[in-house]
């Protein structure tokens, strides 16, 4: 018996909050996917595509993503440092503030308060709120790590520290602006410089919200849930340092063929390609770890979440750098290929690993088993199918769009008007909506399973007491 307790309530609170915002974000995602092929689903002024799309991206990146990261990082950090959080009350306050901030963020975006910086749309009062949230989190996490009761820091803690530092720098620098009223501001950066700063942020926000934190979870929960030790410590060291070093050079691959100076674009392309190596360092490490006993894929229901998740991460990290190459960017940039790419990462990699981590944590907190492995398996196959439909249809229509835009007649005139290239997306966009709905149904199975596990755990602890 320990003389202290982990703060499981806060962890659970974040997990449930993130699931709630996840549902909101996914439903809005389905809504805007319908708007793409049926404009009558736009309800001005608040529910047009232009406003809802940012609620979708922010809701999922910050609501689902950050919520899960906060909760799961608190959980991992307590266990790897062998101590409770340094400031458990602050963590609880963090949870409340988080939910208030996300709710206000969603409302402000619907109201059209929008800085027009992708993934940094929130206006300045909310930016301040986000920074406060992050500082609270950083103090608690770093403080707990400093006061730890375990000499060595495990790999997951490296990724957590790097994420905490990087996100703070990225968010503050990109959001610097001059307020022009309570709900409006103008960026301090202008023109091509503004573009360069934004995509330095935009790409690395993806890196340090959707990559490094998820790797922290992967490196922790894969060995924990399978009981298989990590294949190579050395590989993870090299992968970590080369990943966090190379990531920050790559933002300008979003700006290939724009007026940004050529050398910045080229440097971004070079480092984007290099990122295949550290990314695949983690992929290889994951595969070799499970290779010690492949039967875990059958006997342990969580293993396939991790293996499929890291596989999509591997595909993502080859596809992404490839897109940075000029010859590929020419064809697919600005098309639906790109949302297809993003959603393989978010639906295939991030939510797979996050869901598996939650499946691991919730029963542990209640000292019980998962409510139903069958429901978990159903969840797995539904989100897998939903995501594949989404990504594959978008890749096809993205290549088609790019090709139609470039097509010329023998006499040198353009073959298609813009509208002609647009209407050919509609069948694929309809299929995408179906993929999204299947994915959402999978998530319903997931949430049901989590809630039933909590219920089971509660009645269990009640009967013990």
């Amino acid at each position: 018996m320990n003389d202290y307790s982990y703060d499981n309530q806060t962890v659970k609170g974040f997990i449930l909050s993130s699931l709630f915002w996840g549902v909101v974000g996914i439903l809005i995602g389905i809504w805007i996917s319908i708007q793409m092929w049926n404009p009558s689903w736009n309800i001005p002024p608040y529910f047009t595509f232009g406003r809802l799309r940012v609620v979708h991206t922010n809701g999922l990146a910050f609501g689902l993503g950050l919520g899960a990261i906060f909760g799961i990082f608190y959980y991992i950090t307590m266990r790897l440092t062998k101590r409770p959080l340094l400031f458990p009350r602050l963590a609880r306050f963090h949870l409340y503030l988080f939910n208030v901030a996300i709710a206000l963020a969603a409302l402000s975006l619907l109201a059209g308060m929008n800085q027009s910086l992708e993934y940094a749309e929130l206006e300045w009062p909310l930016d301040i709120g986000v920074v406060i949230l992050w500082v609270i989190f950083a103090i608690n996490i770093l403080g707990t790590i400093i006061k730890r009761r375990e000499e060595q820091m495990y790999i997951s803690l490296w990724f957590i520290i790097a994420s905490v530092v990087a996100v703070a720098v990225l968010y503050i620098v990109n959001n610097l602006s001059v307020p022009a009223g309570l709900f409006k501001s103008y960026s301090i950066y202008a023109g091509i410089n503004s573009a360069n700063v934004q995509w330095w942020y935009g790409h690395n926000a993806v890196g340090f919200v959707f990559t490094t934190p998820i790797l922290a979870m992967f490196y922790y929960f894969l060995p924990k849930s399978t009981g298989l030790p990590l294949y190579s410590h050395r590989l993870s060291i090299i992968a970590f340092w080369s990943l966090v070093f190379a990531y920050l050079w790559t933002g300008a691959h979003h700006l290939v063929y724009t007026p940004l100076p050529d050398w910045i674009q080229t440097l971004a392309i070079v480092f984007s390609m290099f990122l295949i190596a550290p990314s695949w360092g983690s992929v290889v490490n994951g595969y070799y770890t499970v290779a010690a006993d492949w039967s875990k894929m059958r006997t342990n229901y969580l293993t396939k979440f991790f293996i499929f998740g890291i596989t999509f991460y591997g595909l993502q990290t080859v596809q992404g750098p490839t897109q940075a190459l000029r010859v590929v960017s020419q064809l697919i940039h600005y098309t639906d290929w790109v949302p297809g790419h993003v959603h393989m990462g978010t639906m295939g990699w991030v939510t797979m690993i996050v869901a598996a981590s939650m499946y691991y944590i919730i029963p542990k907190i209640y000292n019980t088993e998962i409510y139903s492995v069958r429901v978990a398996n159903t969840h797995f196959y539904l989100v897998l199918i939903g995501q594949l439909i989404y990504s594959v249809t978008m890749w096809i229509t993205g290549i088609q769009q790019g090709a139609l835009w470039k097509a010329v007649n023998p006499d040198g005139t353009l073959k298609y008007t813009f509208v002609e290239t647009l209407v050919r997306n509609y069948p694929f966009w309809k299929l995408r909506t179906i993929g999204g709905i299947i994915f959402a149904i999978g998530m319903v199975f997931f949430i049901y399973n989590i809630l039933m596990t909590i219920r089971k755990g509660k009645s269990l602890s009640a009967s013990v007491a």
Binding site: P39, V165, S187, N196, P259, L267
Partner: protein, 311 residues
Amino acid sequence: MAGNIYSKPVLFTIVSAIVILIGTAVTMFIPMLTPQMHPRLENLKPFTPLQLAGRDIYQREGCNNCHTQTVRPLKTEVMRYGEYSKAGEFYYDRPFLWGSKRTGPDLARIGGKYPDAWHYRHFEDPRSLFPQSNMPSYGWLKERLIDPEEVRRHMDVLNLPYTEEEIENLRGKTEMDALIAYIQSIGTAVKRRPVVKKAVVREVELKNPLAGDPRAIARGRDIFMEHCAMCHGDDAKGDIGPSLVDDVFFYVEGDLPDDDYFEVINNGTFEGMVEEGRTAKGGMPPFGEELGKDEIWSVISYIRSLKEEGR
């Protein structure tokens, strides 16, 4: 191998921060301090109060979620949208609005491409011009008035020049007026470039080789309905654009020869364009990148046939 850094969290945090910041410094922070990141085109004008109010609405409605504002230096892209974007065009853009997805077309060269009336109709109901468009309708912007004092505050924050008269003139302007004023200003610092098919224009015959050809007239009718009727009306008697069956051309009585018709369709019109001593006001987009030589002659044959009928 492991080294001690993995048991010293403060040191680890500092080292990882430095490693992270190297790429940041080289690709983002240091370039920011050099003039190459702050270029300004000679004839780039700052936003007027009305244009800035429109730009605020463009941001508020999230137009950049579906429209880009940068033309890449790629042949077919320049053909489709116009001259590729120059670094010095965006000096006053805080922030830039290049976007990342073309669900709708690029808007970097939209300024002056169509007349205002076209935009009013298109915002009101995009499907009245493009039946298969998926753009939301923005007619509701006509119901909302601009607040001049708010715009003044915004101009002050951005340190942009304005006159009291310009602020006063905002009174009674709707959000739609402002948005269209902004749209019409985008990308106008760069001169509209001639259609890439220069070769075709040079070789062009002075007389329509397909004049009176019934098959060309039928083909011209189809092309007219697809590309021209939206502005000149199904009967070509004029709507957003002028009537093509009367005898007025560029606001002056009297017809123009075939090759001028060809040039106007091929290159579009722009303010200050002079044709046979007549000055255009602009507003017609070029069709030379979409329509081949025979197609343009066919349309001319069709228009001439309508005129014949009218006589």
